[in-house]
């Protein structure tokens, strides 16, 4: 178990320029809801950061600020919005479009020429293993497959920054673990900076290079844990004592905040 101190973070920040960076971000909604308070967080290329925190603490809001959907009330955010992947809790597919039509949507909205679009779609579908289902409509797919379509759609952006808002929360355990493995493989090959919100501490530890714990609203960052396991990660690490210890520490940090 290691808790990254503020100094350690600063040191890392000086070696590689962060791809996504929050500097003293505060957010108060127009109705007075105080959602985020003094968020400082740097994520570099090749870092996978998960956020855990109690329900309603502002995790989704943090991602919305990162994506530019929501503006911070104060503080600064730096990132590359043209290479941003965002996967929501629901697959958010257009039900009237086929799988390939859905995967090609973002390139279409960004007016890429058709041949380039088609290549992106074919590549992304192959990457998530859905090339055989290109002509299916979402209705005919399982929940896991729909999430893969959503993932493929985000991949067409060639994301440098990849935001995930509890993407696998609605899936069964087996599908979830399989998608976790596929996601770490993607992370190894694509080397993006990831910010991943989840309710599952185990998922957070398994996927991440770093886990961030947030307080109840207004959301602040109250602890950070470095995860030492090497990539690509083997499913067995979930059953090692070291894994259990880290998960236990994160759980304790969360609990302490709730009392």
């Amino acid at each position: 178990m290691q808790v990254a101190t503020k100094d350690q973070r600063l040191m890392e920040g000086s070696t590689t320029k962060p791809t996504l960076s929050f500097r003293g971000v505060n957010l108060t909604f127009s109705d007075g809801t105080d959602a985020l308070r003094d968020i400082n967080l740097d994520i570099s290329q090749n870092e996978f950061v998960s956020i855990v925190g109690p329900s309603g603490c502002g995790k989704s809001t943090l991602l919305r600020v990162a994506s530019g959907l929501e503006d911070a009330s104060s503080g600064a955010l730096e990132t590359d919005h043209d290479h941003l992947g965002y996967v929501f809790q629901d697959a958010t597919l257009l039900p009237w479009r086929t799988v390939s039509g859905n995967v090609g949507l973002l390139a279409e909205l960004r007016k890429l020429p058709k041949p380039e679009r088609e290549k992106k779609v074919a590549d992304a579908l192959e990457l998530v293993g859905l090339d055989k289902f290109a002509n299916y409509h979402p209705r005919r797919l399982s929940g896991g497959m729909r999430m893969r379509v959503s993932l493929a759609r985000a991949l067409t952006m060639d994301p440098q920054v990849f935001l995930f808002d509890e993407p696998f929360g609605a899936l069964d355990e087996i599908t979830r673990e399989r998608l976790n493995d596929e996601l770490t493989q993607l992370f190894v090959t694509r080397q993006f900076a990831a910010l991943f919100v989840t309710h599952s501490i185990f998922e957070a530890v398994y996927l991440s290079t770093r886990v961030v714990v947030m307080s109840p609203r207004p959301g602040r960052i109250i602890a950070e844990f470095k995860i030492p396991f090497a990539y690509p990660r083997q499913p067995e690490i979930r059953f090692t004592p070291q894994f259990a210890e880290i998960a236990g520490n994160i759980s304790e940090a969360l609990r302490k905040e709730l009392d």
Partner: protein, 282 residues
């Protein structure tokens, strides 16, 4: 591209077996109404046979309605042109209602203040007994196709903007975020998101309005009782002339008109939505 092409074949082969179940389904859809049709004809037959001599004219037998009221040369040379005339009237009115209604809903979707300003009037229009303004129409437009058409439009209008607007507004919030995130313009959002999203509700509006348009056309004609005769005028005329065979013939044709409008829009809806909407079984 090659990937997509190789995928095509397994899908098309997998569709050949559902074809057989489709045929079965179709039989399932056709047989029960046919049986009911037989039952209704039988009841009709019994009822008309049970009427005493003096009252027999009130309900002629099914065959005599068919032979004398519709298929005899005298009858069909008169009733078929009327049928076509009423069908054209209902169709023209429906088309105008659809086009106007869609434009109105799209404007309300774009400009919220317009919805607030005009929706009360749309609702009020619902409440106005449209036939009450028919005499005014007659004064302004004469006993013309236009005058009757306006009645049809007024009667069939409301479901189009009401349903379309509901569909436009019921887009999933996550999808709106997705489009916003990718800098989609209002037009892009309208055509690629709101419009297809509203298609099921819009088609429901079409179906309701189609039925209303047929009713509006016939009732409008009954009211005017002048100009080129459609089914509505024939109905009253046959009633006056105690031509009950023809009266029932005209009634049957009126129902046929309503049924064919309804069927057309149901089919259209099924065809457009079958791949993705819950209302259509896979």
């Amino acid at each position: 591209m090659t990937i997509i092409e190789t995928v095509n074949s397994p899908i098309s082969t997998s569709q050949s077996s559902p074809k057989r179940t489709n045929a079965l389904k179709r039989i399932n859809n056709i047989v029960p109404p046919l049986i009911l049709f037989g039952v209704i004809i039988a009841i009709w037959e019994i009822l008309s046979a049970s009427l005493s001599g003096a009252r027999k004219f009130l309900l002629p037998t099914p065959q005599s309605v068919l032979m004398q009221g519709i298929l005899s040369p005298d009858a069909y040379t008169e009733i078929l042109p009327s049928f076509v005339r009423t069908a054209a009237l209902a169709l023209a009115g429906l088309m105008v209602a659809i086009i106007l209604g869609m434009i109105v809903a799209a404007l309300m979707y774009r400009f919220k203040w317009l919805e607030r300003a005009s929706f009360p009037y749309l609702v009020a229009l619902q409440a106005v007994p449209v036939l009450a303004i028919a005499p005014l129409m007659a004064v302004v437009f004469g006993y013309s196709f236009t005058a009757k058409g306006i009645i049809v439009v007024l009667i069939a209008f409301f479901p189009i903007p009401a349903n379309f607007l509901l569909g436009l507004r019921s887009v999933d919030k996550g999808l709106i975020d997705l489009f916003r995130l990718n800098k989609a313009s209002w037009w892009t959002r309208f055509f690629k998101l709101a419009l297809p999203n509203a298609l099921p509700q819009l088609l429901t509006g079409f179906r309701i309005s189609a039925g209303l348009a047929v009713i509006g056309a016939i009732v409008g004609e009954e009211f005017f009782q002048a100009g080129v005769p459609g089914l509505g005028m024939r109905l009253l005329q046959y009633l006056d002339q105690v031509e009950y065979h023809r009266l029932y013939g005209a009634l049957i044709l009126s129902s046929l008109l309503g049924i064919s409008f309804y069927t057309f829009f149901t089919r259209l809806s099924h065809r457009l939505l079958r791949n993705w909407h819950e209302s259509v079984q896979a």
